[in-house]
Symmetry: C2
Subunit: 208 residues, 2 copies
DNA sequence: CTCTGTGAACATCTTCACAGCT
DNA sequence: AGCTGTGAAGATGTTCACAGAG
């Protein structure tokens, strides 16, 4: 398949969220224009995004809410369950472990690691915190699909390297520092401080 | 000033982080190539990004670490302190309030709001949780620059609307749903579930 | 007549390549 | 000689506009 833009995939997630809302409300069909308004884009963008994956609509009518959300779930890989490990059980890691939004979408936290002895053995949201030194052994015995990095900046790259070495192919980094992975591994980063800095920039350069 | 791409501003934040590291190490000068390697871009990208704001380097030599980081702090608006309010003191809001990374960069949490009576009056990281109903009055008496939204999805847009009405001009949304603001307000969103979905997509379509 | 699907036009962002300081 | 600064070329992403299915 041709390479799909990251922005397209992100919008598909948004569309899906709306479709699920519409589904609950009992709405049967929806037009590209309606989806666009809800997600803050344009109808042409919606149609173009979907066109990369096939033809899902009926001309003159729109899209079947049920059929389109099923297709999107397939495209996004949300029809299966995903096993997730979190490294770092401090403020951010702990909050992530407790965050229910992941579970709802089929992402299950099966391991929680921390380097601090005090946390090891405590239970967070049903998962016992393991010693970070057991990372390799644990992931070998009970593999996961995705690892979340929630360790301090100066430890981030080292942990990422160890995780990559275990064969994990998707990493979500919450440490506020860029990390590097081989091109065989998918990496996303969430950097909250960076978002605040962007807002500060926008405020100082009051444009838009 | 001409409009600067969002991606450029984000990279500037990354460059600054490295410059501060280099500064601590006592490094005096740095080339665009070195900055690029650390941040995972190319030297041409670094030079182009900086060129939007002026000429900071010396040909044949590179950039002065101290001078460039000062310039970047000015450009990004990090030379002043920013007052921040968080709406929603639950799992995410609480973690944000406790997160020290913000404070280090000059972002100070001065208000914490929650709608749940049980949390109101408790103290998180030195800040007393206020009743969400006092939001307008509190922000009128003690204004903030930036508001973080950490309320449930179905309350997000309503809270954003109320916040916008108080005159706040920058919002960072952590609710996993797109919210809309007037074009006079700067909005960023952090959607962790969406990042996981992107990784799921990448795993299913194992490309790259 | 409505609304999708899509090539083509357009806009934006990145990379190239080289002139010009130091 | 080394490294910046920057137009120009190239790549990528978005919007337009219309043909065509229902």
């Amino acid at each position: 398949m041709k390479h799909i833009a990251e922005s397209t995939v992100r919008r598909l997630s948004d569309y899906l969220r709306f479709l699920e809302e519409l589904e609950q409300q009992g709405t049967r069909t929806v037009s590209s224009g309606e989806l666009a308004a809800l997600g803050g884009t344009t109808s042409a963008q919606v149609r173009k995004d979907l066109s990369f994956f096939g033809s899902f609509g009926k001309r003159g009518l729109g899209y079947s809410v049920a059929a389109l959300s099923k297709s999107l779930r397939e495209i996004l890989g949300l029809e299966r369950q995903w096993r997730v490990a979190i490294v770092g059980a401090g403020k951010i890691g702990g909050a992530l472990a407790r965050y229910s939004g992941f579970h709802q979408r089929g992402f299950h936290v099966v391991h929680l690691f921390d380097a601090a002895g005090a946390l090891v053995g405590t239970v967070i949201d049903g998962v016992t915190v393991k010693d970070e030194r057991t990372l390799e052994a644990t992931l070998a015995a009970e593999p996961v699909d995705i690892v979340l990095i929630a360790v301090p900046s100066d430890a981030a790259q080292a942990v990422v390297d160890r995780v990559v070495k275990t064969g994990v192919r998707a990493i979500l980094n919450f440490a506020p520092v860029p990390v590097h992975v081989p091109s065989t591994v998918s990496l996303r980063s969430v950097n909250m401080a960076l978002e605040l800095e962007f807002l500060a920039y926008a405020l100082v350069n009051h444009t838009r």
